[in-house]
Symmetry: C2
Subunit: 315 residues, 2 copies
């Protein structure tokens, strides 16, 4: 149901808007009771549920001038689907709550919902509930539910002697963000990588089946997430610079901005690549060895301290 192009959420009103949003969200076969009651009810087949939640704030996690509503929907879904991916599982159901300024275009909210639903559709997950309220600042709260086919892969299982491996594009979104932050729109492939990350949604399950000892999704920066793995596992992690080929568009942005091109890869988040450790040098297809695990603590690059940006903090 399209709304008049210039109608705001407060002009359309809460219930017509919810009605319009509900039509966007197709329900999967796990849904016994979908949106519209006090709660949704989901069939859970294998005795457990994986659950994670994220809160995205305008100006902090996204900007309406840097991405379309549909893009922001894709990104919000990707960030959450990726958390289940990082456990070695797959998402089946999500809730989305939005706090919106009263003058937000109703069509913007619908477009966000469409992008969100599209991204969820990539893994066969459906949006089973939500909430809508007004606020001065636009915020999107997402909770994802999923399941693993085998034991979940935690952050805490890395062992000395393991290899550290990466799956997925890494640094592209950070390159795109650097471009947008300077008021540019190209290289387009980086801007698009920021607007619509392409997390490797099968990689988590494949890593789990291949015996990954620990795993994490890179949302706050590769080295920052490697540090979480190292801390939770009680090990030291070393990342090798020469493990990375710098893709041409990142080289171009680095040259234009005077940045170290590797800083996008080592410090960037938002691509939702996966980082995992494996007990043997043989990592599954699609994964690349980028470092090693040893006894000790902390994260090094080529055996030494890294003095570039390592990631994102929330305060």
């Amino acid at each position: 149901m399209p709304f008049p192009a210039d109608a705001t959420v407060s002009e359309v009103g809460e219930f017509p808007l919810i009605e319009g949003l509900r039509e966007v969200f197709a329900q999967g076969e796990q849904v016994l009771v979908g949106p519209g009651d006090d709660a949704a009810v989901l069939r859970i087949r294998n005795g457990h549920v994986v659950v994670s939640t994220d809160l995205l704030v305008e100006g902090r996690h996204f900007r309406r001038e840097w991405a379309s509503a549909a893009d922001i929907g894709h990104r919000a879904a990707a960030a959450n689907l990726s958390d289940v991916n990082a456990m070695g599982g797959r998402a089946h159901s999500l809730t989305i709550a939005m706090a919106a300024p009263r003058d937000l275009a109703a069509q913007w909210a619908l477009d966000l919902a469409r992008g969100f639903a599209e991204e969820c559709g990539l893994v066969g997950a459906s949006v089973v509930g939500g909430d809508l309220t007004s606020a001065d600042q636009l915020m999107i709260a997402v909770t994802v539910l999923g399941a693993c086919l085998q034991s979940p892969v935690l952050r805490s299982g890395a062992e000395p002697g393991d290899v550290l491996a990466l799956c997925g594009r890494q640094g592209w979104a950070a390159g795109g963000l650097a471009v947008l932050g300077r008021g540019f729109r190209s290289p387009r492939v980086l801007v698009e990588a920021y607007r619509r990350p392409e997390p490797p949604y099968d990689a988590g399950r494949i890593a789990a089946e291949a015996g990954a000892t620990s795993m994490i999704d890179i949302s706050d920066g590769l080295l920052a997430e490697a540090r979480h793995l190292a801390e939770e596992s009680g090990v030291a992690v070393d990342v090798r610079r020469d493990a990375f080929e710098i893709p041409e568009p990142l080289q171009a942005v680095a040259a234009a901005t005077g940045a170290d091109p590797l800083s996008f890869i080592l410090g960037g988040g938002d691509d939702h690549a996966l980082l995992a450790t494996f007990p043997t040098p043989g990592v599954p297809d699609g994964w690349s060895v980028i470092g090693s695990v040893a006894a000790g603590s902390g994260v090094t690059v080529d055996g030494g301290e890294y003095d570039g940006p390592t990631g994102w903090t929330h305060f």
Copy 2:
């Protein structure tokens, strides 16, 4: 772990704050993987999960000057636990995400978490995950997971001939809100009812076992929620004025403000009382008949239109 009394969340920093929050949240026996990984993992015993989400915004759903951090934690939890109650179920797990201004006192965040955990403890539920980020406006996003022992009770099952029944204090929180909105602090019992609602957490399950045909939690106003029941069930609902005894403190506030005392009961939310329909005049203990269900549509009071406030809208 107490923080220095005047330290802000940004001074304490994200990770120490998360560490402090994590200590507040005891984990239940359903928790296979608790907070701190990419996602939590929960054991699900009976093949389904009930899920609901709520987003609470400062200035809209709560005010720091009207309630303590712990109170706001209690209220945020109650609003969500009550959604599972209204399905005839019981919550077992929740996630909580907070967007906080950088100058928020870290102790305030801890106190909110404590109040939230305490309320969850009333039904044996635990906080299994969360998120923390900065924002200009304080917001709290909650998702609750729970289970029913029998089929969930929906909004859509009311039948002509059913009785409409209520369980729990109703109108007290609205009375408290009216008092606070005028800058007063008494009658204290109403202000406390607003600050710490006492939802009847066993009533949903009892109603389900007694054969309730439909049920809803009253968060946006009794008549507004009765309208949802009527619409979803395709029936008409009539509420009887003489079914309500006006409690003395509500009479006092009504007298002081010139309001119709019944308007707090018919229009008020936030107590999280339950409204349900039953197929016979015999309703379970703790429930009171307040009206009836007939063929048709819409909600009436004593057979006629009601011209007072019927509830709360979000835009």
